[in-house]
Structures are given as C-alpha cells and as structure tokens.
C-alpha cells in the first residue's frame, strides 16, 4: 500500500528527474578502465594517480582501499601500501556485522548498494600482501603478526563456511610457513607447510594449482629437521626427490625468495536480460555478475645469479579462486535477484493501479507505474565490484646462494619459452639471511574491461 500512496503523490517532473539521475548511475567497474590501461602500459605510478582521483561512495570504501593499497605496492611504496591495506582490514572488521538497512536496499535497488567487504579470498589476500610488504622491507616480526592473523582468519572461515570451495588458502599457508621458517620456529613452519600441502592437494581439482616444486623441498627439509623420519621418507618417495639441502646447510647460505604477481584478476561483468512481460505491459530485468578470465601469458620466472639459478612454480591462481567462489555463491545471488525483480514489479503494479475513477488520476497513475517500472529496470545492476588489481596468479621461486653480493636476473618466460621481461637487481646476502623480492608484471596486451 505504501508504494501506491507514494506513487500517487510523486509529481511527474520529479519522477522524470529521478530517471535521468538513475540512468547516469554507473557501476564501479566502469570507472577503472583507464587505471587498467595505465597498468598495461607499465605505469603503475600513473595508474595510482588516476585511481586516487576516484571518489568512492561509502559502500565502496573498502574496495577503494584494497585497490589503492595494491597500486601503491606496485609503485614500490610499501609503507603507504601497508597503511592503506591496514585501513581496508579495519574497514572489513567494522563492516562484517549485518546491516538491515543495506539488506533492505539490496532487495529494493541492487546488490551493489551493500558495503563491499570482499570475498573470503580477497580478505585473506589483504593479510598476505601486508605480510609481503613487511618481508620486502626486512620486517620479519611484523610479517609474523600478519601470518598469525591469516591463521586466525582461515580458522574463522573454516568454522563459518566449512563447505565453501575456498576454506583454505594454500598460498597464504605457504607464505606463513616461509615466515615461521625465517623466524626459525621450525614446528610452526612444519605445520604451515603441511597445511599448504594438504590445501594444494585437496583444491587441485577446483583451482588447478599443483603442489609447488619449492614446497616439496621445504616439506622434506623441515620434516628432517623435526626428526619426522617417516614423514620425510614419505615425501621423498612421493615427490621422487633424493637430495635437498638440510636446514643447517641452508643456514650457512643466504636465500632469495622471489614472488611474481602476474596479470590482473578476472573481470567481473554484468550479464543481464530485459524482457517485456506482455501480460502486464511492464519490463522485467534481471542482472547477474559473471567473471571473465584474462589471458595469462606467463609460464614461469627464472631467477639466476652466478653460479646458480631457479625456476618459479605457480603457488596461487586468483583467477580460478575468484571464478569458483562466485560460482558457489551464484544460487544465493540469483535468488536475491529474482526476489528483487518480484518486489520491483509489485511496486510498479501497485502504482499503476492506484488511480481513482476519474480519467485524470488513472492517467497519472499509469505514468507513475511506468516511471517506477523504468526506475526498477534501470537500477537493476549486478554487483560487479571486485579487487581487480589483484594479480591473476602468483608464482614463487627460492634460490639459495653462498653469502656475497649478487646481480640477480629475473626473467619472465612465456609459454613458448620467449622472454617476456627481464630485469636485474642487486642483492647483498649474508649468512642465514633471506631476502624477499617481488615483481608485479602486467602484460602489455592486457585485456582491459570494455
């Protein structure tokens, strides 16, 4: 009844003005094309400046912080990036509680009116990237704090959604293992490596990432160090690895740990259908989100310094995780979209039938009904918000070297073995020291959202 009371009192010019305003309502992803183009031109600093110009709505605050933090990291400003991502983390914490107002809006208008707090994997990635920032700055203890938070977060996720395809993050576990090993907390490192190994195995089908080559050696090394001879033997057999340096041998050398963050996360787009219902003469529209993967030209990275070299292996496919996570949520999203369609249609129907007997008021009601129907159709947008500056995939390589000064070459190779990118970095290694380096690489022919 409320709808028809409002409809009968809304003057026509006002409704028209509302329509114009609504037609201009674009989704978040429409505004980030230029940022992506700058990234493809290898200009992260420009991309950051462009992105910072956007003023996000209240509901998009966390998303804005996530993207900004990542762009700051790509531009090499780790300190600012950590600060921004910490804000995003706090934002998620504050917004986790259910908002009845936003729930109502999401049924009446669209899902994009809800405050963005990211999918589970996006929340874990915030911690992972803060940890990487700290590691690259040589702040191991601070990275350990993030590692503990990842543990907590994953424990909570496992409790709240035990059946989701993403209950474990193999890469995040692996990274925490590396942090604990660097802290020489062998038992914690062993547990984390083991959890990573289990996650890679159980998620192989859904995410398509096999147990990384480096992790196989890490498992054997730590199992040996812990005196778990049976387990170590099992790993040796399973991975067909005979020789691997022991913890003691590794501590005599230094180590370079390289992470390559390649490409961008898939594009979240809208898939919508608008039909005219001949029975009522009103439009019906339904809009759902859909991921579109971008091509991944990187095959592997080669890390070489006289006299040794190492190749990277894939440790995380954010592309696959994003697609599968959305797939598992599709039933709920679809149900909400259908409910929304019904609510909006009922409002339009109530408005068009609200007129009295006089011809004037029934004509006004007809216009009001049409206005509400059009507004309903125009506001029906899919929630296409996602942390688009995340890489499509992450690769990792470990290279141990005797202490000394090195010129390290990082070569990115394509699927045809061609060199996609090559860079030299100077690294000084001390005994027992681990240096963390990363490379964000976006292909020049990146598929930019339309």
């Amino acid at each position: 009844m409320f709808a028809d009371r409002v409809a009968s009192r809304v003057p026509v010019p006002c409704a028209a003005a509302c329509l114009v305003a609504l037609a201009g309502c674009t989704t978040f992803s429409d505004t980030i094309q230029s940022t992506e183009q700058s990234l493809a031109r290898q200009q992260p600093q420009v991309a950051l400046t462009q992105y910072e110009r956007l003023s996000p709505s209240g509901a998009d605050r966390v998303l804005h912080l996530m993207n900004k933090g990542m762009l700051q990291r790509m531009a090499g400003d780790y300190e600012q990036s950590t600060r921004t991502l910490e804000q995003a983390k706090r934002g998620v914490e504050e917004l986790r509680a259910l908002s009845l107002r936003e729930q109502a809006l999401s049924v009446a208008v669209n899902d994009a009116t809800k405050s963005f707090i990211g999918e589970d994997f996006e929340q874990v990635m915030v911690n992972a990237y803060i940890a990487l920032n700290y590691l690259e700055q040589g702040k191991l203890d601070a990275a350990r704090v993030e590692a503990l938070q990842v543990d907590l977060l994953l424990r909570e996720k496992a409790q709240s959604a035990p059946n989701s395809p993403y209950v474990e993050d193999a890469f995040a576990r692996y990274l925490t293992g590396i942090v604990y090993e660097d802290e020489r907390e062998w038992s914690d490192a062993m547990i984390a490596y083991r959890k990573a190994y289990e996650a890679y195995q159980s998620q192989l089908k859904s995410f398509g990432v096999a147990v990384p080559e480096t992790l196989k050696h890490d498992l054997i090394r730590l199992a040996d160090r812990m005196g778990l001879t049976e387990e170590a033997r099992g790993y040796r057999q399973e991975f067909a690895i005979k020789e691997t340096p022991s913890v003691a041998e590794l501590l005599e050398r230094g180590e370079i740990i390289l992470t390559v963050h390649s490409g961008l996360a898939p594009i979240k787009r809208e898939r919508a259908a608008t039909v005219l219902n001949p029975a009522t003469g009103r439009f019906l529209r339904i809009a759902l989100p859909q991921y579109r993967s971008r091509a991944q030209p990187l095959a592997y990275a080669r890390l070489s310094a006289e006299p040794a070299s190492a190749s990277s292996s894939r440790v995380e496919s954010i592309d696959a995780i994003a697609v599968k996570s959305l797939e598992s949520e599709m039933p709920a999203i679809t149900a909400r979209a259908i409910a929304r369609m019904a609510v909006k249609d009922a409002a339009a129907s109530a408005a068009s039938h609200s007129g009295g007997n006089s011809s004037g008021s029934s004509a006004a009601a007809g216009i009001a009904g049409l206005a509400i129907n059009l507004a309903a159709v125009l506001t029906e947008r899919a929630d296409t918000r996602s942390w688009f500056t995340l890489p499509g995939e992450i690769q990792l390589a470990r290279l141990s070297l005797p202490p000394g000064d090195y010129k390290v070459r990082v070569e990115l190779r394509g699927h045809d073995q061609g060199v996609l990118d090559s860079r030299e970095i100077k690294i000084a290694l001390r005994k027992g020291e681990k240096k963390y380096v990363s490379r964000h690489w976006i292909p020049t022919n990146l598929e930019v959202r339309p």
Binding site: E94, R96, A97, A142, V145, Q149, D151, L152
Partner: protein, 202 residues
Amino acid sequence: MSGVRSLRIGLALLALVAASGCATKVERLDESQAVDLSGAWNDTDSRLVSQEMIQDSLSRAWLQEFRGRPGQARPAVIVGEVRNMSHEHINTATFTLEMERALINSGKVDFVAAKTERRDIRDERKDQDLNARADTRNAMGKELGADFMLTGTINTIVDPSGDTQVRFYQVNLTLISLADNRKVWVGQKDIRKLVTRSKLRF
C-alpha cells in the same frame, strides 16, 4: 494531509540528527580510565603492563643483591628488544619507556642509551671534539657500560568462536646479566579479554 505533515516533521528531525553528527567531537579522558573500543591492544593494556613490571622489578632480590656487591651502587640497564610475537601490531616502546622512566626516577637504577640513541650521542661527541671549547668537551671512551639488558616478548593466544573470541596476552620481560648471561629477574603480566563482535550495524 496529516500524513504528509508528519512525514515532513519526521524528515526535518532526521536531517537534524544527521547534521548533529557532522562536527568533530573531542572528549578528554583521564589516563587511568579504561576505554576499550575494538578489543585490540590499547593504552590500558600498556599501562597495566608497565605498572606491574615497575612494581615487581623494584621489589625483587636482584636489586638488593647487586647493591650488596663491593663497589657497586646502582645497576646500569640497557633496553634491548621486546619482540612482538603476538597476532597484533603492538608498539612495545610505550611500556618499556614508562618502565625506564619509573626506574630512573626511583633513583635505584641507571639506564644507558640504547643502540640507536648511542649513535647520535657519539656523533655529537665527535662534533664536540672539533667544535666545542676545550673545557666543555666530553671525551670519547668514557661511556658507562651496562650491567643488565632488558629484553622481552609479547605472546598471544586467541580462541575465536563465531562472533566471540577470548584473547590472552602474555608479556614477559627479562633482565639478563651482561657479565654472565644470568637471568636475574623475569616479570610477567597476563591479560585476558573477551571480545564480542556486534552482529548488527546501521
């Protein structure tokens, strides 16, 4: 028409409420008053730790024992690293500085400058050698060597279940004798918190 009028009044009231929330409001708090907002480590925790540690360190045997040694008046302490092994980013300087201040003011303990502070002081002394008047110069090589080093750790255990979690913080501080690695004092402060997250928001 009464419906419309009440709607207007309601809207006006709403605007008023919204507007009143716009101005920044500052309220000064007594420093001993506990205000917990997010459940994370805050000033109250830091204060509780320093209070406990100051009281404990001044009342234990190591101080008497040191002063009883021939030719020794006050032990000299240097602040080492307090490692944060917890799941939160915690600034440990707040309670080590508080402790340093209280111990110095007690007149029973001397503190010597820590590694990073020393560098600046030595630079200044070097500068004095060149630029200061001869009778005001401070010579190199006359620094007071520390007898003890204060180190420590913060550890946490978090037990989450749904929207509730129990957070347990344990702060350990240790005084280690630089002469023979003996631990002469270990202070400990435990803090437990029950944090319940709100299920609903506006």
